[in-house]
């Protein structure tokens, strides 16, 4: 069940875990994959090693834990990790990424990816995967079965070293629910507050009996660049440029609420409106104000982050409540459910993190449930009860925990805002048509981080190109380990890659890398059974108008199809900042 991991000690390696046999093999990381990390690496492995027609919760699915290419280096805000698999929510390929320290800890140890296959014969058994410089091994973890994420991580911090970081699932993952997330721990508190949330990847981890991964970086250091001096100078300049800039997320993504309200993309009451009467009370400004009286503040979720967009939210008694309370969470669990008190939204966010759930999917699922007449809009206590029922595994809890599409199916409700089975995020495709093109065409289903374009006035003839470029840029960003809030451009990323590897990475190479990632993902979905007929938004987005201009999603199918046909790269492709 263990290996000393000494194969190729000075080179990069990968870890293969077979949960059916309980074995681990460490192999050299293929040199041909040197530019691949995060999302692109996950896509390549899934296309090569996972049957796209498999049962997502069966032994043939493959769970990927892939740090970004630059994770573990000194590049600022670059330590994110991608989790990948066939999604039980969309039945297509899925990548979701998270901050915290597990990504850089794995890469510092030289482990560029963990590939988990198979399934234990006994579904009630739980396992932990321990990764350190000395050893990689599976350990029994039955005593942690059913634990909520915070209690689990508190217990793990007592077992493992002070430096260890953790990747965990809560009860929702163990129950194999389609809204289950994978949690990663923060760099400072080691709270399980960073979630690779979308697509039900926690359920895949749960289906493999894997309750947690503990990574102890020991004395490992930042990965060494080929051009150490040049890389250090580049990191310094890039950090300085960022700090000299507007730093728009200095007070967190929740500061975006007023912009979204103005642009009619602050969905309310299951998206029947784009503006909420609670915009003032749900404004992120309230969180910042609370720091004075309650404590909390802004911090960095991963070591080496200069963006520091993560808020730490305290309750009225001054005790830690949750982190980070983001724009998407505030919108989907707040405005979209007509819940207007920030403290209630903080409670709901904490519950989602505890049970291991995607806040976007849960906000959408509860709103559909409310819209179907099963609960009053604005019933915050009712919403909290629902999330607790998910952890308890009741039938109602399972329905909510399986996401908005499942709630729509079981309640026979007509307004179900999902694409390819996944809930539409806060950013609304009716005022933001190009973002809607992304939702329709992204291999991930409706996902703002796949290619967000906040440009309500954009002419129709630019939507396809804007979506394609945003999808390509974000695919590269999510492969690099950079956080999208660091807003790197393709030129930035290729410069970092080139300096790290000691060779020039051309514009053509970096653009091809992003495009190939999208091609791999689209091909996986094609083999899984998806066709162009699935590249559509739901009826409610086409029929229910939003805002004073009564906007609907009326983008022509030929424009949507264009977004998947590669266009000649424009100069702007390389200087446009990633946004998500």
């Amino acid at each position: 069940m263990s290996t000393n991991g000494s194969n190729g000690a000075s080179g990069d390696r990968l870890i293969r875990v077979d949960m059916t046999r309980g074995t681990i093999v460490v192999e050299p990381f293929p040199s041909g994959w040197k530019l691949l990390g995060g999302r692109a690496l996950s896509a390549r492995i899934l296309l090569e090693e996972c049957d796209p027609t498999c049962d997502p919760l069966g032994p043939d699915n493959v769970l990927i834990l892939a740090p970004g290419t630059l994770a573990g280096t000194a590049a600022p805000t670059s330590g994110r990790i991608s989790i990948g698999a066939k999604s039980p929510l969309t039945n297509g390929i899925k990548e979701a990424n998270a901050g915290g320290n597990p990504g850089q800890d794995l890469n510092k140890l030289g482990y560029r990816v963990v590939i988990v296959k198979g399934q234990p014969a006994d579904a009630d058994k739980r396992w932990g995967l321990e990764v350190s410089a000395d050893e990689v091994k599976l350990v029994p973890a039955d005593e942690h079965a059913g634990k909520w994420n915070y209690a689990l991580c508190e217990d793990l911090t007592k077992i493992y070293s002070k430096k260890a970081s953790f990747i965990t699932i809560g009860p929702a993952g163990e129950l194999r629910l389609k809204g289950a997330s994978v949690a990663c721990t923060d760099q400072d508190s080691r709270h399980p507050a960073r979630h690779a949330a979308r697509g039900g990847l926690g359920a895949v981890m749960g289906s493999k009996g894997l309750k947690y991964v503990a990574i102890d970086p020991g004395r490992s250091r930042a990965r060494k660049p080929a051009d150490a001096k040049g890389f250090a100078q580049l990191c310094k300049k890039y950090t300085r440029d960022y700090l000299d800039g507007p730093q728009m997320f200095k007070t967190g993504t929740s500061s975006v609420v007023p912009v979204a309200q103005m642009l009619n993309t602050f969905p309310t009451r299951n998206r029947v409106s784009g503006q909420s009467p609670h915009a003032e009370s749900l404004d992120g400004k309230r969180i910042v104000e609370s720091f004075e009286t309650r404590g909390g503040g802004m911090h960095n979720c991963l070591t080496g982050c200069v963006v520091k967009c993560s808020n730490i939210v305290h309750d009225a008694q001054g005790h830690y409540k949750t982190s980070a309370l983001e724009f998407e969470t505030i919108t989907m669990l707040g405005a979209n459910c007509d819940i207007g008190e920030m403290d209630d939204v903080a409670d709901l966010d904490r519950l989602c993190d505890e049970v291991g759930l995607d806040t976007i999917e849960m906000g959408a699922a509860i709103a559909v449930y409310m819209d179907a007449g099963k609960m009053e809009f604005g019933d915050a206590e009712g919403a909290k009860r629902l999330l607790k029922e998910i952890a308890e595994g009741t039938e109602l809890g399972k329905m909510i925990g399986n996401g908005a599409a499942e709630v729509g199916k079981q309640t026979h409700h007509h307004r179900v805002p999902v694409v390819k089975g996944q809930a539409i995020p806060a950013w609304d495709p009716r005022p933001l048509k190009a973002t809607g093109v992304t939702y329709a065409t992204s291999p991930m289903g409706a996902d703002h981080t796949a290619g967000l374009i906040v440009n309500p006035g954009m002419p129709e003839d630019q939507w396809a190109q804007a979506s394609q470029e945003a999808q390509l840029i974000n695919a590269v960003c999510d492969s690099s380990g950079f956080c999208q809030f660091m807003t790197p451009t393709l030129d930035d990323i290729r410069t970092f890659y080139g300096t790290f590897l000691g060779e020039e990475i051309t514009r053509e190479q970096i653009a091809d890398l992003g495009w190939q990632s999208l091609l791999d993902e689209w091909e996986f979905n094609r083999r899984a059974g998806y066709t162009e007929a699935d590249d559509v938004l739901p009826a409610c987005m086409k029929e229910d108008p939003i805002g004073p201009a009564k906007l609907v999603f009326d983008v022509k199918p030929e424009i949507i199809a264009q977004a998947k046909l590669r266009m000649e790269p424009r100069e702007e492709l390389f200087s446009t900042k990633a946004t998500g």
Partner: protein, 87 residues
């Protein structure tokens, strides 16, 4: 003539234009000139008290603008930056 650079989220009132040349002696004059030419723009950048919304930042030739009454010259470029992104 100074130019005001408009971020994508705010190009609705400008009908997609990302750069508007305007006449004005100060940053505030220039933003008001954009509002005069593209009604609706002002409400995106100014709060009710006539000051900037807190999620909007301005740069003049790459330098942060601290005062809306900052004088501008003929060739100056005023960049409007708006917070977007979700988390």
């Amino acid at each position: 003539m100074p130019r005001v650079m408009i971020p994508p989220p705010y190009r609705g009132p400008t009908h997609g234009k990302g750069e508007i040349p305007v006449a004005g002696a100060t940053v505030r004059d220039c933003l008001n000139a954009v509002e005069a030419e593209c009604p609706g723009f002002g409400s995106l950048v100014f709060a009710g008290d006539g000051e900037l919304h807190r999620f909007v930042k301005l740069f003049c030739n790459g330098e942060p603008v601290e005062q809306l009454d900052l004088p501008v010259a003929e060739a100056d470029e005023i960049e409007v930056v708006a917070a977007i992104g979700g988390g």
